[in-house]
């Protein structure tokens, strides 16, 4: 995250529960800028009642533990502690500060000030007061004014000021962590609280250090590989001029390409640059998250090998990984990228000459990938995109896969046994009977990314799509395997299996019907 946008404050939200202090300490050591302790009282209008009623615990408990743990471990200064979860009044803010919070999150109350009437329909696009909807007709009903929210926060601030005056504080900082000032008798002496011991909740850790956020984290990103890449690509970022960079990469160069992707996105938005504008040739073994969040126009060619999390959140870039040309290993029999490749990828292309690890393309929502074999749980929770596997897969392929398609070369004929068929059907790949037919579907594709050849109508044109991908794969990575399949297409084609999510096909067919009806 910090790599993609070094200016961003990175927040980690933790559910308030016993043990959250330890997690918060870990998160702080991992350089989070804030830690948010979220209580169980709140909840969005879209969350199920069971989650609203039965998840988490009061923010006071988690906040007290977090603050105490951070102070005890000398971490408190480095991180801003936030608290949220049904904060409503200035009194809530003051109690939060006394228990150790620097910052306070409000959501429901200002929404109500702006006109929310807690319909709990946020997820249905039917908000009748136009707050949580994209429907232009319903949005007309929105009557809120910024002043309503401003007014609300003025009241909060005024109440906080009054309470601070009563307690004798001049600044919020003085107040943070002063749990000794909380008057707890009223709550603790209540008959329902009999037998409960609150002393740990209100314990104050003695220290000479400041107990509020007064330092910034050292994120150690000043000298990462991307700084070099950005310098090399400066021309391309500023003027769209094509550049080519070649450099070595090592396994300590983590998240290579993310900061460059962030720079491109900052300047050009999601549209990015033209294909291959920034071509980066890297030699060596990458660290984790190679090519994460790479933007459109970025091509990252790695001669060597990837690591875990290659292409995490890929946002339009192209990733090419193949073994060193001098290497004698058989590419299709050896691992080229690690686990959880393409986690949450949105768009882009990947060509991996070699075998991927487990959970390949998990949560992929739009990227295209070619790989020569995968481990267990391939294409898990995938919702879009195309994955072509020209080698064996592990078990539980396509678990929870609700969108996109996958093609698997099933030479052994036992893929059906290793595929999780709960949400998908397996179909044969057939040759196109009619070239005209193939072109017809291209106007009503589900996700028109301009990659018409590959991302056209997913209900047909399979053989052409596979061939196009194989040609790209052979071209970019020099894959012998792809070359061989293309040479013997008539032999290999019947061995391909198309993995098609049932609901995805239904949605596509409905959309085609609609388009045809017009």
């Amino acid at each position: 995250m910090k790599n993609v946008n070094p200016a961003a404050r990175i927040s980690v939200k933790l559910v308030s529960e016993v043990g959250v202090g330890t997690v918060a300490a870990g998160v702080t050591k991992a350089k989070a800028d804030h830690v948010t302790i979220s209580g169980f009282d709140g909840g969005t209008g879209a969350s199920p009642l069971t989650s609203i009623k039965h998840a988490g615990s009061p923010w006071e408990i988690g906040l007290a533990e977090t603050h105490q743990t951070l102070v005890l471990n000398g971490l408190r200064k480095r991180v801003a502690v936030q608290v949220d979860g049904a904060l409503r009044t200035g009194r809530d803010v003051v109690i939060g500060a006394l228990l150790g919070a620097d910052e306070f999150g409000f959501a429901t109350a200002p929404l109500i000030a702006a006109g929310c009437i807690m319909m709990r329909k946020c997820h249905l696009n039917t908000c009748p007061v136009g707050v949580a909807t994209q429907d232009p007709e319903l949005r007309k009903r929105f009557k809120g004014q910024p002043e309503h929210v401003i007014n609300y926060f003025f009241f909060i601030a005024e109440e906080v000021r009054e309470l601070m005056a009563t307690l004798g504080f001049r600044t919020i900082q003085e107040m943070i962590g002063r749990s000794d000032l909380l008057d707890v008798n009223k709550a603790v002496d209540h008959w329902k609280a009999e037998g409960l011991d609150f002393s740990r909740l209100f314990h104050k850790v003695e220290t000479d250090e400041p107990v509020y956020n007064c330092e910034t984290q050292d994120h150690e990103i000043d000298n990462v590989l991307d700084r070099k890449l950005i310098a090399g690509a400066r021309k391309a970022i500023d003027t769209k001029e094509a550049v080519r960079i070649e450099t070595d990469i090592h396994n300590y160069d983590r998240t290579a390409g993310a900061m460059l992707g962030g720079e491109v996105a900052k300047k050009w938005g999601y549209a990015g640059l033209a294909e291959d504008t920034i071509h980066i040739k890297l030699n060596g073994t990458s660290g984790q998250s190679f090519g994460a969040f790479a933007a459109k126009g970025m091509t990252m060619e790695l001669e060597g090998e990837g690591n875990d999390y290659v292409g995490k959140g890929l946002s339009g870039g192209k990733l090419i990984i193949y073994p060193p040309k001098i290497s004698k290993i058989v590419a299709e029999d050896n691992i080229i990228v690690g686990n959880t490749v393409l986690y949450g990828a949105i768009e882009g292309e990947c060509y991996f000459r070699g075998v991927g690890g487990e959970r390949f393309a998990v949560r992929n929502s739009g990227a295209i990938a070619v790989v020569e074999g995968v481990g267990d749980h391939g294409c898990e929770y995938m919702t879009g995109g195309v994955v072509l596997v020209i080698g064996p897969t592990g078990r539980n392929f396509a678990a929870g896969m609700s969108g996109g398609v996958a093609y698997v070369l099933d030479e052994a004929g036992d893929f059906a046994k290793r595929c999780n068929l709960a949400m998908v059907d397996l179909e044969p790949v057939q040759a196109e009977e009619d070239a005209m037919e193939k072109h017809e579907g291209m106007t009503n594709d589900l996700e028109a990314h301009g990659l018409v050849d590959v991302m056209g109508d997913m209900t047909r044109g399979d053989a052409d799509r596979i061939q196009a991908l194989l040609r790209n794969h052979a071209h970019y990575t020099g894959s012998k395997r792809a070359h061989e399949i293309l040479l013997n297409w008539e032999y290999y084609m019947p061995k391909f299996v198309k993995v098609m999510p049932v609901d995805y096909r239904r949605a596509l067919q409905e959309m085609q019907k609609k388009a045809g009806g017009r």
């Binding site: 009437i117 319909m119 709990r120 249905l124 007061v129 319903l138």
Partner: protein, 470 residues
């Protein structure tokens, strides 16, 4: 929950009315019910709000989204079960309730609330037609005797609830038939009296003993109540507000309720021993701009009055309320009832300074425009010709003579019988009060609520605990 997008797809639809020129020629109800298909669509408009404001808008806390949904899904038998769980008499409220539920409906923010009252009306009428309204006899008798004094909606609701709890209930009614203002005040064209009869038949089958022509404190001695383990007073707030200005004694100035009750008796063929008050051929002025006034307008038109004028001391309310200020509460806005559509002149900010006449017979009123503090504006005096003036200015408190004073009960500052809304207990521990006699003049639906809640309070008082709903 109806249909998630129903409110965007279907328009609000309420029943039509027979045309004014034909409906003023009779005293029958004139609404034209919606078809089942249309009702399903209206039910579909309900959006099952996360915060169902209608639950609180409705004084009996009807579980409105649930039965809207059941109507949408064509599950009418379950719908009446849910509706009856909070409201003993939906056939009354479905007809004459001003529907504060619809005012509090989320869709009323856009002035297109769900047609809740129409759906309620349809559910209960269908239930009666399908034979789903059957006596609910108690499983066991408790052996306790309870007197309910006053057969209006509060008394009926209390009696029914208490009888269902197994108590021996005797309902005392001073008139020939029970129903209170439902029977004698509200004109037949708004509420057919058969509607009361079929409900009374159910109550009798459930064991409620009804003693009519029994005016406790007048024709029945108060001491007769001593024989009961508990007494519930539901006598209403019947003392009308008078207008003590010069000329009040002229012949032709009457209380609205004297006029309306006569007509209702005429329609049902019940004899009454008082001179006829008729609007036929007369210039009628109704003083008071509320619902009783509107009923006087409708009745006068049916009696072929020469002209009908309704005056109101308060200013003309806005046609459209400011929703951001009022919603989900009941807004003050201009309300035009079906009776107004039948023809009448309405004037606001008008105070009557005196009546004038010849030979003791009313000829007209001297009026003046008033400001928002009801102070006369100099130079705005005017006269209205009138042969009949109907005073429809509300009721101040219950009649004290006889029952209330006879029991020696404490009263609140407004002259109502003093009792809270938890125990409903008066200063006499075994005497309870509910409805208008306790809260002052109000809606039928509030009377039903109080009757139900008081029944529970009485049940708790007699048995130590109660399973009746609050």
């Amino acid at each position: 929950m109806g249909k998630a997008t129903g409110f965007k797809e279907f328009a609000r639809q309420t029943p039509g009315y027979e045309k004014p020129e034909s409906r003023v020629r009779h005293y029958n109800e004139f609404t034209q019910p919606l078809s089942n298909d249309e009702l399903a669509k209206q039910g579909a408009r309900c959006m099952d709000c996360g915060i169902p404001f209608c639950h609180q808008g409705c004084p009996v806390n009807n579980i409105i989204p649930d039965w809207n949904d059941l109507v949408y899904r064509d599950r009418w038998a379950e719908a009446i079960e849910v509706l009856h769980s909070t409201n003993n008499f939906p056939e009354f409220t479905g007809r004459i309730c001003p529907a504060p539920c619809e005012a509090s409906c989320t869709l009323n923010l856009e002035d297109i609330p769900v047609a809740i009252k129409t759906i309620e009306h349809a559910i209960i009428e269908r239930a009666f037609a399908d034979g789903l309204v059957q006596p609910e006899k108690p499983k066991a008798a408790t052996g306790k005797k309870v007197a309910v004094v006053g057969g209006g909606p509060a008394g009926l609701a209390a009696s029914q609830q208490l009888a269902r709890a197994g108590h021996a209930v005797v309902l005392f009614e001073k008139n020939a038939y029970v129903g209170g203002l439902l029977r004698y005040g509200i004109p037949d064209f708004k509420l057919d009296k058969q509607v009361i009869e079929r409900r009374v038949a159910q109550m009798k089958a459930e064991g409620v003993e009804i003693r009519t022509n029994a005016h406790v404190g007048v024709t029945v001695p108060v001491s007769e109540l001593d024989a009961f383990d508990a007494v519930v007073l539901t006598g209403g707030s019947e003392k009308p507000r008078d207008l003590p200005v010069p000329g009040r004694e002229l012949a032709g100035v009457h209380f609205a309720m004297d006029f309306l009750t006569q007509q209702n008796r005429r329609v049902s063929g019940e004899a009454f021993d008082a001179a006829d008050i008729l609007a036929t051929g007369k210039k009628v002025v109704v003083i008071g701009g509320g619902d009783t006034g509107a009923d006087c307008v409708g009745t006068s038109n049916r009696q072929n009055a020469a002209s009908v004028t309704q005056i109101e001391i308060m200013g003309k309310p806005p046609v459209m309320e400011d929703k951001l200020v009022t919603w989900p509460k009941w807004p003050n806005k201009l309300r035009t009832s079906s009776s107004h559509d039948e023809g009448c002149d309405r004037r606001w900010s008008v105070a009557t300074q005196s009546f004038f006449g010849e030979g003791g017979v009313l000829k007209g009123l001297n009026c003046v425009q008033v400001d928002d503090k009801f102070q006369p504006v100099a130079g705005t005096e005017f006269t209205l010709e009138a042969d009949l003036v109907l005073l429809a200015m509300g009721f101040v408190h219950p009649v004290h003579e006889g029952l209330v004073d006879g029991l020696g009960l404490d009263k609140d500052g407004r002259g109502n019988v003093k009792a809270d809304t938890v125990k409903y207990q008066t200063s006499n521990p075994k005497v309870f009060a509910a409805g208008d006699i306790r809260r002052g003049q109000s809606l039928v639906v509030w009377a039903i609520r109080e009757g139900r809640q008081a029944a529970r309070a009485v049940d708790e008082f007699l048995m130590g605990s109660s399973t009746l709903p609050r």
